[in-house]
């Protein structure tokens, strides 16, 4: 699939995409990638990396400064409306209307998508049942929980059946149970309808669990791209993490022992070939440099480590999640 040269067979083809904002901010800085039809693709990166800007350009909500975009062969800049018939979009914020019932949300948006009258009725009933909202379909959405709102958004995709669904941080601000449910229904969408899925996330476990391929994005650039398993393998070997009793000075290691990929006041992370052999040597080397070790662990690399290696920074999750939670709460409060 990845070697297919016919551009129409590709769900998304992005070439040299740039978005700058005045005075001189390059939100998206020359990125190129393509997504095969039926693929689940993730754009992974910290808050402010340019993920949402990228999504909004692909679906034609903001115009790129430079570069070209195709959705199933349709040029987004030239025929935005034709492109929008192919896609569904679930923004990061709640996008269902709190002042309408669950049923009305599905009905109105299916009409805006030009789903035929007969199909509409049947699909809405089925979708409500699938996401477990049949009982509460006639209740106003502002009385729903955050998880129920997200499920309703998935139901919209079930009714409108876009060829490609864009989800901006699909599980943000949800409790672990609801996250699982959303992930399962995203997979189910692809299985049942062959829907291509494009997600953005700052959550590596989400990217790892859902995506066939991820592109890691930082400061507007794609730093590395590939299947999560390959990316992790490419780091080779193990990650050895030392917890420190007190902050120490910056450490260096002989090259054959491993590479220090991260150091802060309480931890040192080292990428190495075979952790079980090199760890004891590292302990000695660190002791020599005056580091006091509290504990140590040896793990296989995670996507977080991949990110760390290529960007020299950690994926910062906390700010992002609590922010989104606060938005959800304030929306719920305001509409009640």
């Amino acid at each position: 699939m990845m070697t297919d040269e016919n551009p129409a067979a590709k769900a998304v083809v992005v070439e040299n995409l740039v978005k700058t904002y005045p005075p001189d901010i390059r939100a998206v800085d020359m990125i190129s990638f393509s997504i095969g039809s039926g693929e689940i693709f993730g754009l992974l990166g910290p808050n402010g990396a340019g993920k949402t800007t990228t999504i909004k350009m692909i679906i034609g909500l903001i115009s790129p400064t430079y570069g070209s975009l195709r959705l199933f062969g349709v040029d987004v800049a030239k025929s935005p409306q034709a492109a929008r018939r192919l896609l569904g979009y679930v923004p990061q914020n709640v996008s269902v209307d709190g002042d309408l019932s669950g049923y009305e949300n599905l009905l109105i948006f299916s009409r805006l998508f030009y789903v035929g009258r007969d199909e509409r009725r049947e699909r809405i009933a089925k979708a409500l049942k699938y996401v477990g909202l049949s009982e509460r379909a006639n209740e106003l959405v502002k009385h729903y929980s955050g998880g129920m709102m997200r499920r309703l958004e998935v139901a919209q995709a079930l009714v409108n059946r876009p060829k490609i669904l864009f989800l901006d941080e699909p599980a943000i601000g949800l409790d672990p149970g609801s996250r699982r449910e959303i992930w399962e229904s995203i997979r189910q969408l692809r299985k049942d309808f062959g829907t291509t899925i494009f997600i953005t996330t700052h959550d590596m476990s989400e990217a790892d669990y859902l995506c066939d391929r991820v592109a890691i994005m930082d400061s507007g650039k794609i730093v590395v791209m590939g299947p999560p398993s390959k990316l992790k393998e490419s780091l080779g070997g193990d990650v050895v993490t030392f917890q420190l009793t007190q902050p120490g000075q910056e450490v260096t290691l002989p090259g054959d022992l491993g590479q220090v990929v991260h150091q802060d006041d309480s931890t040192i992370k080292i990428l190495t070939q075979d952790g079980h052999k090199t760890a004891p040597l590292m302990v000695l080397a660190l002791k020599d440099q005056g580091v006091e070790i509290q504990s140590m662990s040896i793990d296989v690399p995670s996507l977080d480590d991949v990110f760390l290696k290529y960007t020299k920074r950690r994926l910062d999750e906390h700010g992002n999640i609590s922010e989104a939670r606060a938005t959800r709460r304030s929306i719920a409060r305001y509409s009640k």
Partner: protein, 256 residues
């Protein structure tokens, strides 16, 4: 994109708003207080002192179409606040990512301001009848007044959406709404005839779509003199088309 699809999208958006009003109509009821006060207090007082020459009409008759227009103007000019709210929660982004054209979305929203306007009009109409305003109850005239109200509401709600695309916050929209409604209302023939205005104000009133709407409604509701009607219709239509077109072009700015 067929014409049928465009129309269907616009009607769907209007339906969406109508359903919201159906779920909660508190706002519409509170908006009735102000026009009722204009009619019952200002109208009655000015009527009894007979300070303004309003031709063959009593003063309270004269201002009934004006108060009608004013109440619809208020509803329409603050309509952009709803759009800002929808932008803040994410619904607008979602609407603009559907295949429906932006112009249909703007027209649909404008129509729903028309629905709110009709609600106001029916209530004020009723009030006017109760206090004894001598309204011409001809079916065509009444229908004409309702059409005028819908178009008028579309005109100023799309102006409001146009402003919202640039101002983008609820606070600024409240401010600009306050800033322009009163001048629009006072620099028109809503509560006094053009002839008693100073010359410069007459010129302002002549480019003010409110004047043409009030004039058309006054003709249909009260005088039955249709001689100005073609000009009125042309003026309201042109400004509505202008604002709807501009708002359709700028609404995307809201989410950029």
């Amino acid at each position: 994109m067929t014409l049928g699809e465009r129309v269907s999208s616009a009607l769907t958006i209007a339906d969406m708003e109508a359903r919201k009003i159906h779920h909660d109509s508190t706002e519409l009821w509170t908006r009735l207080v102000q026009p009722a006060l204009w009619l019952l207090i200002f109208g009655e007082v000015m009527n009894s002192i007979r300070g303004l020459s309003t031709g063959s009409l009593s003063y309270i008759e004269f201002i009934t179409p004006g108060v009608l227009a004013q109440s619809v103007l208020f509803v329409a000019i603050f309509y952009g606040i709803n759009i800002v709210w929808e932008k803040d929660v994410g619904v607008l982004t979602k609407l603009l990512s559907t295949p429906s054209p932006y112009s249909s979305i703007v027209i649909g929203k404008a129509l729903s301001a028309g629905i709110r306007g009709i609600f106001q009009a029916v209530m004020i109409f009723g009030l006017a009848l109760v206090i004894g305003v001598n309204v011409r109850l001809d079916v065509l005239d009444v229908a004409g007044v309702f059409v005028a109200i819908i178009v008028f509401a579309m005109c100023f709600s799309s102006l409001s959406m146009l402003l919202a695309s640039f101002l983008r916050t609820r606070d600024r929209m409240m401010g600009i709404g306050q800033l322009i409604t009163m001048p629009l209302f006072f620099a028109s023939n809503a509560i006094y005839p053009l002839s008693i205005m100073p010359r410069w104000l007459q010129y302002v009133a002549m480019v003010n779509p409110v004047s043409y709407t009030v004039d058309a409604m006054r003709a249909m509701l009260l005088t039955g003199d249709y001689s100005n009607l073609p000009v009125d219709i042309a003026a309201i239509s042109i400004s509505t088309i202008l604002f709807v077109s501009l708002a359709s072009l700028t609404i995307k700015r809201m989410i950029e």
